[in-house]
């Protein structure tokens, strides 16, 4: 990403182009920093580069020529409360003066506050003097935990400097880094108090901290900062290596990015060490060897240990973590209860709970509902824990361990990259399922390989797209949540890469408008030819096992293979109610769901009206009258117009009769062109299916006629349950001349 005119002040990137990814987030944060109000919390994945993001914001504001003063403050190396309080007030004052003087040197000059204030512009001097006089720490503490109340008082006083500056009209943005360390060092209550004082004072700020800590800790808008995706991570890796004077081939670059799991501080440390030792990183052997050196005790190991120090307070706790990590091994489905582990290890339960909650925050381990598990996949953190266990608790021979591990790693490296390349080129099934969130039907030929092969084999995409418009539809559930199958059934990872199988939790409409659950399990399977019956059944069995073990009452299996399925396989899938699609279909489906198939003409010609009508006697005639006028304008024939009117009246009556609507209104949206008349009628209140189920038994002869009429008079009718009411979608196609 390039930021015009920016000079580096804090950023580690050598040039603008070196800061990779996050363009939209960066733009949003810059806008917030100059025009926004209040705070934004960046929920940072450890190693995701949130600090560098704050540096970039700082540099952009500092040298961008605007009026907003950037003030960066990190809670890292906080020390005692009085030190931190003093550091914060100094940062406010010195950075404001550096900005006013456009002097990056002043940021690093190490001059005293009194000296700096002498350099302040006349307009700022009284305020800055006042900040120093009233908000600097007035006394020293003997130790960080010696006097919690005094520490609290010092910190509150210091952070009120921001509110005072805001009240005095100073245009500034606070960039607070590593805020989880504030809670770690001075207690959660102190952290909450700091945030509240910023919020109460109307201070504009951006804070970053570990996402698992911040998510529930602050009540301000938040944005996630996850690690870069593989492609961007490889770019960043190449860029960091280049900056440190290390030239490496693309395949090695990719291995380093993958091995270090796109953890930018670790990647930086990896190359910095290589640069210091003048280690050449030319091939997989060099790269793996250097990686192991890092994990056994290089800069990367130091960073990992530092992160772990956030969680552990003593040698005993370190041993507890190493032991449990070793017990959990590589099996993410293994869950160990904290209570029993604490008992076995001689830790007090509360202390163990706090320890593993923090291990969860740094994402070395997962901890929830009183149980501990290990995150899926390889990572430098896991490697470091494993090595430390073997060296520190297992007392293994270091050189022997290094040699053995290196051999294993070298054999693994090509497979690691193979998995990555496969994952990179797979369909992102979770995202595909998530796209089903607003659809109830898709063209059948996009899912059913039999139909697709019969009608569209060898036909160009452009022609298929045109033909699909008029083809039959197939119902799909409204997916409300999708995740990797591995997350609900870890053993699937023995058969499929994480990215190659997903599960979507959906709702489908029954004929009476009520909803029922339907879970879709989808897998992308590899095959050079059309998949045969045995292979299709094998994969169905795997997914069926996931469904059964997860307790899904109703589920549907969907297999996607590069070349589709042969007839026998399709017959076998049909027997199980499963779906088989080809990769090409899935790509087309993706485009369809993304809205690419809507032709501009078809969209442009629609006339669109919205009307809200109170539920009063005969108000349905108003809706019918409007619909009639619209249909006439688009040359619908008299019979169709009458049918539309009657169906609309029925929809309106259903809403008015059964809903006990709190607002007593019916909302209607019409979209009409010369080919079709679409109506959406929605209302709040008791949902139609609920009203019908309660009404069962009485007046049976008179029940259900409205729905029956709508279905018979219109060409498409869908009844949807909304959160608080019912929505009926109806379409009437214009009669075509015979």
């Amino acid at each position: 990403m390039a930021v015009a005119g920016r000079k580096n002040t804090l950023s580690r990137c050598a040039s603008d182009g070196e800061f990779i990814g996050r363009e939209r987030l960066f733009a949003e944060l810059i806008t917030h920093s100059t025009e926004g109000q209040g705070g934004i919390a960046l929920l940072a994945e450890p190693g995701g580069g949130a600090t560098e993001l704050l540096f970039q914001i700082f540099d952009t504001l500092f040298s961008g020529g605007g009026n907003t003063v950037p003030v960066y403050f990190s809670f890292r190396h906080s020390g005692a409360a009085d030190e931190l309080a003093g550091r914060f007030v100094r940062a406010m004052i010195n950075q404001t003066i550096a900005f006013r003087n456009s002097s990056a040197k002043l940021l690093r000059a190490g001059i005293s506050v009194e000296e700096a204030i002498k350099l302040a512009p006349a307009g700022d001097e009284p305020l800055l003097r006042c900040l120093w006089k009233y908000h600097r720490p007035q006394f020293k503490l003997r130790g960080p935990l010696s006097d919690q109340r005094s520490a609290f008082s010092l910190l509150s006083r210091a952070f009120e400097a921001a509110a005072r500056a805001e009240a005095a009209g100073l245009d500034f943005t606070l960039l607070l880094d590593d805020v989880h360390l504030a809670a770690r060092g001075f207690g959660y209550a102190a952290f909450q108090c700091l945030v509240e004082s910023l919020n109460f004072g109307g201070v504009r700020y951006i804070m970053t901290g570990y996402r698992r800590f911040l998510y529930n800790a602050v009540n301000v808008p938040f944005r996630p900062v996850s690690r870069l995706g593989f492609r961007e991570a490889t770019q960043a890796t190449g860029s960091i290596a280049g900056r440190l004077g290390i030239h490496l081939p693309d395949d090695v670059r990719d291995l380093v990015a993958e091995r270090l799991r796109a953890d930018l501080p670790l990647i930086e440390a990896y190359f910095r060490d290589a640069s210091d030792r003048t280690t050449a990183i030319k091939d997989f052997r060099n790269a793996e060897q250097h990686y192991l050196r890092q994990i056994f005790g290089g800069r990367s190991a130091k960073i990992i240990d530092e992160r772990m120090s956030y969680a552990v307070d003593s040698e005993r706790e370190i041993r507890a973590v190493l032991t449990i990590a070793n017990k959990l091994g590589d099996d993410p489905s293994c869950r160990i209860p904290i209570d029993s582990f604490a008992r076995d290890f001689g830790l007090k339960t509360k202390r163990a709970q706090r320890l593993f909650a923090r291990m969860n925050e740094i994402e070395f381990l997962n901890c929830g509902f009183g149980r501990i598990s290990i995150p899926a996949g390889d990572s430098p953190q896991k490697d470091r824990l494993r090595i430390r266990y073997k060296l520190e608790i297992g007392s293994e021979n270091r050189a022997l361990l290094f040699g053995k591990t290196l051999l294993t790693r070298l054999k693994e490296a090509p497979h690691l990259m193979e998995r990555r390349y496969r994952a990179t080129h797979c369909l992102s099934l979770v995202d595909l399922l998530k796209m089903f969130s607003g659809r109830r039907a898709v063209p059948a030929a996009l899912l059913d390989y039999g139909k697709f092969a019969a009608e569209f084999r060898g036909v160009p995409d452009s022609e298929i797209i045109g033909d699909l418009q008029n083809g039959p539809l197939i119902s799909v559930p409204m997916i409300v949540f999708a995740t990797a199958t591995e997350n609900i059934y870890p053993p699937i990872s023995n058969s499929l890469l994480r990215e190659m199988s997903a599960v979507g939790f959906g709702l489908v409409n029954s004929d009476d408008g009520s909803s029922r659950d339907e879970i879709w399990l989808v897998a992308e399977i590899g095959s050079k030819l059309e998949v045969g019956r045995n292979e299709a059944e094998f994969w169905c069995d795997r997914l069926e096992m996931a469904a059964i073990m997860s307790g899904f009452p109703t589920y549907r299996i969907w297999l996607i293979s590069p070349e589709g399925f042969d007839d026998e396989a399709l017959a076998s899938l049909a027997l199980r109610g499963a779906i088989g699609s080809s990769r090409r279909q899935a790509n087309l489906l993706w485009r369809f769901l993304a809205g690419e198939f809507k032709t501009p003409e078809a969209e442009d010609n629609f006339e669109e009206f919205e009307i809200t009508i109170p539920m009063e006697d005969n108000a349905e005639l108003i809706a019918a009258g409007i619909a009639e006028e619209l249909a006439k304008r688009h040359n619908f024939d008299a019979k169709s117009i009458n049918q539309i009117k009657t169906a609309l009246i029925e929809a309106f009556i259903n809403a008015a009769e059964h809903s006990f609507s709190p607002d007593r209104r019916v909302h209607q949206r019409f979209r009409v062109n010369d080919r079709e008349f679409r109506a959406v009628i929605s209302n709040r209140g008791i949902r139609l299916s609920d009203a019908r189920s309660q009404a069962k038994g009485g007046h049976s002869r008179r029940r259900g006629w409205g729905l029956e009429l709508m279905r018979r008079l219109m060409d498409e009718v869908t009844i949807e349950e909304t959160d608080d009411g019912t929505r009926i979608r109806m379409t009437k196609f214009a009669a075509r001349p015979a």
Binding site: D617, N618, I653, R702, W705, G706, L709
Partner: protein, 127 residues
């Protein structure tokens, strides 16, 4: 079959009356005591119940034939139609015939869809 003068509104009817204004005329053709009821322009719950009430009263008075004239009816809804089934039931109990006359083609289609035409005689409007 001759329906007679019920095909036209009686002279004392206000054709602009918006509600069903169930207007009944009574006549005797031979031994048949026929009652003619005129439905309003919108057959909904209110007008349907009005027709139903009038029919039941006339059936109690000994009517042999109920003629419902839909010449003014442009729009019907399912509740109005469902109430007509009450008229049909009551007539069946009293061994009376039910005839719907001057029904427009769209309304006739709805009656057909909902199965009313199995129990009544239906005559459509002549264009």
């Amino acid at each position: 079959m001759t329906i007679g003068p019920e095909g036209h509104l009686p002279a004392n009817t206000d054709a602009n009356d918006p509600i069903a204004d169930t207007i009944a005329t009574r006549e005797r053709t031979g031994n048949v005591r026929r009652i003619v009821i005129y439905a309003g322009d919108y057959l909904n719950r209110l007008s349907g119940e009005s027709i139903e009430r009038e029919c039941r009263r006339r059936l109690n008075d000994g009517a042999d034939e109920i003629v419902v004239n839909f010449s003014r009816t442009e729009v019907v809804n399912s509740i109005g139609i469902s109430i007509l089934t009450g008229v049909i039931d009551a007539a069946a109990m009293a061994n009376a015939r039910v005839i719907f006359t001057e029904v427009n083609e769209y309304t006739a289609e709805l009656f057909e869809m909902l199965g009313l035409t199995r129990h009544i005689e239906l005559y459509c409007k002549k264009d």
